[in-house]
Amino acid sequence: MGTSVKDIVIPSNAPKSLLLLKHADYIVSYGEKKDDYEYVMTEYLRMNGMYWGLTSLALVGHLDKMNRSEVIEFVLKCQQDCGGFSCSIGHDPHLLSTLSAIQILTLYDAVESVNTDAVVRWIKSLQQTDGSFYGDKWGEVDTRFSFCAVACLALLGRLDEINVDKAVEFVVSCMNFDGAFGCRPGSESHSGQVYCCVGMLSLAGRLHHVNADQLGWWLCERQLPSGGLNGRPEKLPDVCYSWWVLASLKIIGRLHWIDKNKLVEFILACQDEETGGFADRPGDMVDPFHTLFGLAGLSLLGDTTVKAVNPVLCMPEELLKKSKIQFQYL
C-alpha cells in the first residue's frame, strides 16, 4: 500500500532567474485595482496584504513606489477604540492585523503616529493566565497569536509589559514528539507554527527550550526531490514554506541542512513571467503573500539582489538594525 511521495515536477520552461522589477510592478498594480473582485474578496486580509506587498517592495528597493501618506492614513483608520487594529475599515480588531499594522508603521518610521499605549494595553489584555494569547476578545488561542503579541511589543520596545515567562511556558507546552510546534498544546506540528514559536522564543531570548538538532532534522526533511519545501510530512511543496521553514532553520543555526541550490531553483520556478509575482507552486496563480515569502526566502538563501531580510520579523534587516530589538540566534 505504498504511498508515492507527494511532490511536483518543475516544468523545463519555468523561469530560472529573478524577475526583480516585474515583482515590484506586480505589487504596485495589485494595490491599484481596488475594485477588482480578487481585491475586494480578500478584504479580511487587507492589513496583512499591505504588509506583504510593502515589505516585498522594501526588499526589492522600491518602497517609494507606494503612496506613504495614503497607507498610513488607512492604517490609522483601522485602529479601534480598544487599541487593536482591524484588517480593514469597519472590521473588528485582531492580533493578526495588529502585527501587520505595526510592521507597516515601522517600515515607514511612523509608529509614533498611532496611540501605542492603547495598542500595548490591548495586547496585554489578551494574555491569559496560562501565558497564551487570545487573537481577539472571542477567545481563539493559537501560538500564532503568541508570536504576534511578542513581535508587536518588541517592535514597540515594550516587551516587558507582558508576562514573558508565562508566554514562553505556553509556547513550550506546544512542543511535540518531533521537536516541532503546533497551534495549541496537543496540536500536530506545522512549519508555520514552528516559525511563530521559534521566532517568539528568539525575541524572548529563550531558544534554549528548542532541541535544535531534533527540530532542525524535522525541518530539513521538509525538502522534497523537486527542491521545494512542504509544511508537514507527506504534503506538497509550497513557496511560503521557503519562508516558514527557512527562517526557522536560520534562527536555530541549521540553514545549511537543506540543499540551497535546489530550493532556489524551485522558488524561481514559481514566478509568473507575464505578470510578475510568485505562486505557491509553478504554474499556479500568483498573490502578494507568496511574492513576499518567495523574495524573503531568496534573501535568506543569499541572493544579494534582494535586500537582507530579518528571519524573525520578515522585515528588511537594515531597518531593524536601527532599533534596539534583541534577536537571539543559535
Binding site: 505504498g2 485582531h94 514528539f177 510530512p233 496563480m285
Partner: protein
C-alpha cells in the same frame, strides 16, 4: 490562495468570468454594507444571521462576520426561550457544516463551532465526535479537524483509551498518517505513565509501539511518518537537571557552576553559595555572556570591584550598578565583623575565600532544593573542582537500558537490516540502523556507524550537511565518553573532519583545545570554555568569531586558514582581556592592508600574525 492553477482562457471565457464576478462583487458589496449598517444600528437579529450567512458560506474567512454572529447569538440568548435558542444553535451547526464542507480549513468556521458548542443549552457531543470522524475520513491530516476533535474529547470527557483505539484504527487503515502517530505520542504518557522512564511512558507500552511502527515501515518504507515516530521511541527523553561541575578558583576569586541543562538564575531559581555552612553574601551570578539570560554555565566573581571594571558596564544599566555599589558598601561595613567571625582573609578591596573551608552550591526553587555540590578548599589549593555527576561516564551520551529493551532494539535492528537489504536505496533504513547502533553500543559499532553515514551522504544528497554534523557529534561523543574530562586540561580533536563542535558545556575546565584541520563553520557556545588559555582553530571554515567573546583566560588563539573576510569578524576578541597572541594568516582579510590596520588598532595588546612566516 493555494493550489489554484493558472489556465489560459479564450476571450469569451474571460468575458463570461468577468460578468460573473461583477455580479458576485455587487452581491458581496451590497450584503456587506447592509450588514455594517445593521451593526451600527445595533440590530443583532435573525436578519443579521441571514445576511452574514450569505457572505460566509462563500467566504468563511471574513472573521468579522463570525464575530457579528456571535454577538447576535449572545443578544438572542437574553430574549429567546431555551427551546427556541437550542433550535437556533442547532441550525447554526448545520450552517457551519455547509461552510466546512466548502472550506474544511477555515480557522473562523472551526472556532465558531467551538463557540456554538460552548454556548448552546443542550450540546450533543457524540454527534460532534461523529462529525470529526467523517471529516477525518475525507482528509485524515486536516489539523483543524484534529484540533476540534481534541476540543470535543476534552469537553465531553471522552476517555483517552477510546481515542487511543481510534488512532490505532486510523493507523491500521493507513500507516502513512503522521497526525495519528502524533496523537499517540500525546496519549501514551496519559495512558501509561511511568516517571522513571525517559519519555514518561512505561517501557511495556513503548515496546508495543515499536512493534506497531515496525509493521508501518515494513508496509511503506518510504513514508516519513513511521520513521519519525520510531526515532522518537528510541529517544532518551529529557536530561535531568544536575550539576556537571563546581569549580572554585582562589586565584581569580571566582566560582563556576555548570549544569546539565540550561537554567536561568535570579528569577524563580536561585543558586546559593555557602562557605562553612554560612551563605556567602552578595553573590551575583552571570552567564559567560555576562548577562542573566538562561545558560548552562554560571559564574560568580567575588572581587566585585574587578567585576564592575569589566566590560559589563555597557550591558547593565548604571542604575543597577549604583544599587550594587550601595549594597557593597553596606556589606563592607556589616561584613567586617562577620568576616572576622569566620576567620576570613580581609582586604580593603577584596573578599576572598578563607584559608581552609567547605564550600557548597545549592540550586533552589522556592524552598525546593533541586541539586547541590560541595568541595573542601584547602589552604594550599589555588583552584579546585568538584561535581555531582561530572565523572564523564558513558551514560552522559547513552541510556540505561533494561535487558528487555535491549532485546527489542536488537530485534528492531535485525529487521531494519533485513529491510535495508531489500530496499538498498532507502535512506530511512540506513539512518535508523545508525541510530539503533548508537543507542545499543556506540563504541563497538563506531566504524560501522561511520560507514553508514558515508552511505547516507550518497543516498540523500540534499541533507548532506545534516549527516556531516551528525557524524561530528558522534565522533565527539565517542571521544568524550572515553576521556576523564574533569582532569583533562588539554583536549585534541584535530584533523577529524568535524563540521560542528558539540558539547562545549562539558569543557569548562579545559585549558587547551586543539581543533585545527577540521571543517568547522562556527564557534557558537565556545564561551563556555571559561578556562581555556590556548585555542587552536587553524584551518577550518570559520566566517566570524561569534561565540569567542568573554573568554577571560584566553591567551593564544590560532585562526589561520579560515574564511574571515573583514575586521568586524574579530570584534568579539576585544572582550578577551588576556589575549596576547593571534594568528590570522591565510584568511581573505589578512592580505588587505586596510583590514590589517583596523585589526591592529582593535587589538592593541595582542601580537598578531598576519602572514605566515
Amino acid at each position: 490562495m493555494h493550489g489554484r492553477l493558472k489556465v489560459k482562457s479564450t476571450e469569451e471565457q474571460i468575458e463570461a468570468k468577468k460578468k460573473e464576478r461583477e455580479k458576485k462583487l455587487l452581491l458581496y458589496n451590497g450584503a456587506m454594507s447592509k450588514i455594517f449598517l445593521k451593526k451600527q444600528n445595533g440590530e443583532l437579529d435573525q436578519e443579521m444571521l441571514l445576511l452574514s450567512g450569505e457572505v460566509l458560506v462563500v467566504n468563511p474567512d471574513v472573521y468579522t462576520l463570525w464575530n457579528f454572529r456571535k454577538e447576535t447569538f449572545l443578544e438572542l440568548s437574553t430574549c429567546l426561550p431555551g427551546e427556541q435558542l437550542q433550535r437556533l444553535y442547532q441550525s447554526e451547526l448545520y450552517f457551519l457544516e455547509a461552510c466546512l464542507k466548502k472550506n474544511p480549513k477555515s480557522y473562523g468556521s472551526w472556532h465558531h463551532r467551538c463557540f456554538v458548542m460552548d454556548h448552546m443549552p443542550d450540546p450533543d457531543w457524540k454527534r460532534e465526535l461523529e462529525l470529526c470522524n467523517q471529516f477525518l475520513q475525507l482528509d485524515e491530516r486536516n489539523f483543524h479537524c484534529w484540533d476540534y476533535r481534541r476540543f470535543v474529547v476534552h469537553s465531553a470527557k471522552i476517555p483517552p483509551e477510546e481515542e487511543f483505539e481510534f488512532s490505532l484504527r486510523l493507523i491500521n487503515n493507513n500507516f502513512s498518517n503522521y497526525s495519528s502517530w502524533h496523537y499517540r505520542s500525546k496519549l501514551l504518557p496519559i495512558l501509561f505513565p511511568d516517571a522513571t522512564q525517559p519519555m514518561g511512558v512505561s517501557e511495556d507500552a513503548l515496546l508495543k509501539e515499536y512493534e506497531l511502527v515496525q509493521n508501518g515501515f515494513f508496509t511503506d518504507p518510504d513514508d516519513q511518518s513511521n520513521w519519525f515516530y520510531h526515532r522518537w521511541l528510541m529517544g532518551r527523553g529529557n536530561q535531568t537537571l544536575n550539576i556537571n561541575c563546581f569549580y572554585v578558583s582562589r586565584e581569580d576569586n571566582c566560582v563556576l557552576v555548570s549544569f546539565t541543562k540550561h537554567i536561568q538564575i535570579g528569577k524563580k531559581t536561585d543558586l546559593i553559595l555557602e562557605c562553612n555552612e554560612q551563605t556567602m553574601p552578595g553573590t551575583v551570578w552571570l552567564n559567560p555572556n555576562k548577562t542573566s539570560q538562561s545558560s548552562c554555565l554560571w559564574i560568580s566573581f567575588y572581587n566585585v570591584f574587578v567585576w564592575c571594571n569589566a566590560q559589563i558596564v555597557r550591558q547593565i544599566s548604571i542604575r543597577i550598578i549604583k544599587i550594587i555599589i550601595i549594597i557593597i558598601i553596606i556589606m563592607f561595613i556589616c561584613s567586617k565583623r562577620f568576616c572576622n567571625d569566620l576567620n576570613w582573609q580581609y582586604r580593603a578591596d577584596n573578599l576572598t575565600f578563607p584559608k581552609d573551608c567547605d564550600l557548597k552550591v545549592t540550586l533552589v526553587q522556592g524552598s525546593l532544593e533541586l541539586c547541590s555540590s560541595s568541595l573542601h578548599l584547602g589552604e594550599n589549593d589555588s583552584s579546585l573542582s568538584g561535581s555531582s555527576v561530572i565523572s564523564m561516564d558513558k551514560s552522559i551520551f547513552s541510556q540505561e537500558m533494561s535487558p528487555l529493551k535491549k532485546d527489542t532494539l536488537l530485534q528492531a535492528m535485525e529487521s531494519v537490516l533485513q529491510l535495508m537489504e531489500m530496499e538498498s536505496d532507502n535512506k530511512w533504513t540506513v539512518l535508523t540502523v545508525v541510530l539503533l547502533m548508537k543507542a545499543l553500543d556506540p563504541d563497538s559499532y563506531f566504524d560501522q556507524i561511520m560507514c553508514y553515514l558515508d552511505k547516507l551522504e550518497d543516498l540523500d544528497g540534499k541533507r548532506i550537511h545534516y549527516y556531516k554534523d551528525l557524524r561530528s557529534k558522534f565522533i565527539i561523543e565517542n571521544i568524550f565518553a572515553g576521556t576523564e574530562l574533569t582532569n583533562a586540561s588539554a583536549i585534541t580533536l584535530s584533523g577529524r573532519s568535524l563540521t560542528k563542535m558539540y558539547h562545549t558545556e562539558l569543557l569548562p575546565l579545559v585549558t587547551s583545545l586543539d581543533l585545527c584541520d577540521n571543517l568547522l563553520r562556527d564557534v557558537h557556545e565556545f564561551n563556555l570554555l571559561q578556562n581555556v588559555k590556548v585555542l587552536n582553530l587553524a584551518n577550518n571554515k570559520l566566517e566570524n568569531c561569534e561565540g569567542l567573546q568573554h573568554l577571560p583566560k584566553l591567551e593564544r588563539l590560532l585562526l589561520n586558514g579560515n574564511n574571515l573576510t573583514k575586521s568586524s569578524d574579530l570584534l568579539q576578541l576585544t572582550t578577551c582581556a588576556k589575549l596576547n597572541f593571534l594568528d590570522i594568516s591565510n584568511n581573505p582579510l589578512s592580505c588587505q592592508e586596510e583590514e590589517i590596520q583596523t585589526i591592529t588598532a582593535l587589538l592593541p595588546n595582542v601580537s598578531i600574525c598576519f602572514k605566515q612566516q
